[in-house]
């Protein structure tokens, strides 16, 4: 019996989130007495399968079918559901990314099993499994008892850092050909549009965030300058997108993007829960705020008390000065 980890890849390039799922899955499989297996799906799956053994996967199911040209939630969900039926896997785990949660929900609907999304910790039991999952994007936790034939779960993104297994597993590749109804091609990605090349909000090592305190769309220019100087990008709070100062794709928070940079510079942001849960995975937080009592300031590791309109340009200036000397 096995714990099957659904590994995401983008046209052959394995996602870090999948390695987090394998990292989280190793002790879970051991505790549950299950073999840790992985599944990679569609075009590029073979390339993505390489190296999964080093992360602990004993068997790697490589699924292919003519309609699996790109990501498709229904086709991926049906593939995993068939694999579970075929292998008798008793648990399925993915990382709680947008795709991970969507695919496991599809599996759950098809197998008519419960699905517990975004777990932080899981205790397998001979009867029910118990787990702690996140609610409100992480500002509240829920202890759950899962009573199921097949345990379907995702691990909240950034719960663990991806590491290779101490002892690599066999990583035996096994081809899997699901029987897919052509109709499922209806939700396979039809087209892609690239807007920005290079680093993005979710991958940037530095994020310079601005909130209501920035004051206007134009006043983000100094933040852009500092971000460019540090090889980072600009993010913002929900108040900013609601005011139309920045596009929603720049929003950090529960209903926006979760960031995990080396440092998050949060300027003019009070730090409402909705924003905090999107920023809390940052390794370091520097708050810049006129209000020393603002949530963002009290939660940050470092803070500067002052007006961001003066502080940000001064920081940019200092960076340039040191680089010049």
């Amino acid at each position: 019996m096995s714990l099957l980890v659904v590994c995401e890849h983008d046209r052959g390039s394995l996602s870090d989130a999948s390695l987090e799922a394998l990292t989280f899955g190793r002790p879970l499989a051991a505790a549950a007495g299950l073999e840790l297996d992985a599944v990679v799906i569609g075009e590029g799956a073979e390339a993505a399968a390489e190296g999964l053994g080093a992360h602990g996967a004993v068997t790697i199911h490589v699924a292919s079918h003519p309609i699996l040209t790109d990501f498709g939630p229904e086709a991926w969900g049906e593939t995993v559901a068939q694999l579970v039926r075929g292998t008798g896997a008793t648990a399925v785990l993915a990382c709680g990314t947008e795709r991970g949660n969507e695919v496991v929900a599809q599996v759950a609907a098809r197998l008519d099993q419960p699905f517990v999304a975004n777990c932080r910790s899981i205790e397998p039991g001979s009867d029910a499994w118990t787990m702690t999952r996140v609610q409100w994007g992480g500002s509240l936790l829920e202890d759950v008892a899962l009573d199921a034939d097949v345990h379907l779960v995702t691990v909240a993104h950034h719960t663990v850092e991806a590491t290779a297994a101490e002892v690599p597993a066999a990583g035996y590749e096994s081809a899997f050909a699901p029987e897919l109804d052509e109709v499922l091609a209806r939700t396979v990605v039809a087209d892609r549009v690239v807007l920005t090349q290079g680093i993005t909000l979710s991958t940037a090592p530095v994020v310079v965030g601005g909130g209501r305190g920035v004051g206007s769309a134009e006043a983000f220019a100094p933040l852009e300058e500092l971000a460019a100087e540090l090889g980072g990008v600009v993010g913002c709070s929900r108040a900013v997108t609601n005011n139309g100062w920045r596009p929603h794709s720049d929003q950090v928070g529960q209903t926006g993007t979760r960031i995990a940079p080396e440092i998050y510079i949060a300027s003019g942001i009070s730090g409402a829960i909705q924003h905090w849960v999107g920023a809390m995975a940052a390794k370091n937080i520097l708050a810049i705020n006129t209000d020393a009592e603002a949530n963002m300031v009290t939660r940050a590791g470092h803070a500067v008390i002052g007006d961001l309109h003066q502080v940000i340009p001064a920081i940019t200036e200092e960076v340039r000065r040191r680089r010049g000397s």
């Binding site: 419960p114 609610q135 991958t203 001064a314």
Partner: protein, 269 residues
């Protein structure tokens, strides 16, 4: 276009979310309630589509009797029909919720014809189960894609196409944000989409809308459904991250200390 939007009444979170003594619910004593943000955008999107193409927007919720408030809010911004599936327990688990919604939707469609489009929020702001829409779509045998931040009915999600397509045999182009760009899905109607905030900026109700919504009829549809396999043991707050904030200084004079920190973290390289 006949569009159905499923919404959820959730507490409007303040700075701190507290839990009731029995650990079964959020303590709402000092909280207001609102429509989950993704779903507020879903209602707006549905109203915008019917403003362009004609049709009717039905909004459905499964929740306590008080969820009527969120249905009336939807009416105040342009929804036409309101359906409440009343429950008395605190929260239904996702399987149970999906079963009830799917059967209620099925009966509505038998009576009045199918919905061309059904919209859900990508996930609820509170429980965040990430599955009710998917389960309902599967039960109805319809396609669903989640994470949608752009919808174009019978046209092109790039914004290039017109939205006057033959809706009856039409397709919907749906845009999903990915790192550095977006994916486009072309799904034939009838379809279900999980919508995310950012797809639009929801309007505020007008005075006229508010007044009309008070008179709007709320259809009650009580449903029974089996309890699912995910049981709540308790809710609790995460341990506070105790961070002793290091104040690097006040005003622009703090810049050298900030850049020292950058150097220490290696982000200046």
């Amino acid at each position: 276009m006949r569009i159905l939007v499923c919404v959820k009444r959730v507490p409007a979170p303040g700075a701190r979310i507290n839990v009731t003594a029995d650990g079964q619910a959020v303590d709402a004593a000092h909280l207001g309630f609102t429509t989950s943000p993704h779903e507020e955008c879903a209602v707006e999107e549905a109203v915008q589509i019917t403003e362009r193409l004609g049709g009717e927007v039905t909004v459905m919720t499964l929740g306590p009797a008080e969820a009527e408030e969120q249905l009336r809010y939807a009416a105040s911004v342009g929804a036409h029909r309101l359906v409440l599936l009343p429950i008395t327990e605190v929260d239904w688990d996702p399987q149970r919720t999906a079963t009830a919604l799917a059967s209620a939707i099925g009966d509505l469609e038998t009576a009045d014809g199918p919905f061309d489009l059904i919209l859900f929020g990508n996930e609820s702001a509170d429980a965040g189960g990430f599955q009710v829409g998917v389960r309902v779509a599967y039960a109805l045998g319809r396609p669903i894609v989640n994470g949608i931040k752009g919808i174009d009915v019978g046209g092109d999600a790039d914004g290039g196409g017109s939205e006057t397509g033959d809706v009856a045999d039409g397709t919907v182009a749906a845009r999903r944000e990915i790192d550095g760009g977006f994916e486009v899905y072309r799904v034939s109607l009838p379809a279900v989409l999980g919508v995310k905030e950012g797809i639009n900026l929801p309007r505020y109700p007008t005075m006229k809308g508010r007044l009309a919504s008070k008179k709007a009829e709320v259809a009650l549809d009580e449903r029974a459904a089996d309890v699912g396999g995910q049981g709540r043991v308790r809710l609790h707050r995460p341990e506070e991250q105790v961070s002793e904030t290091v104040i690097l200084g006040a005003g622009p004079e703090a810049a050298p200390a900030v850049v020292d920190l950058f150097e220490e973290l290696g982000v200046l390289a």
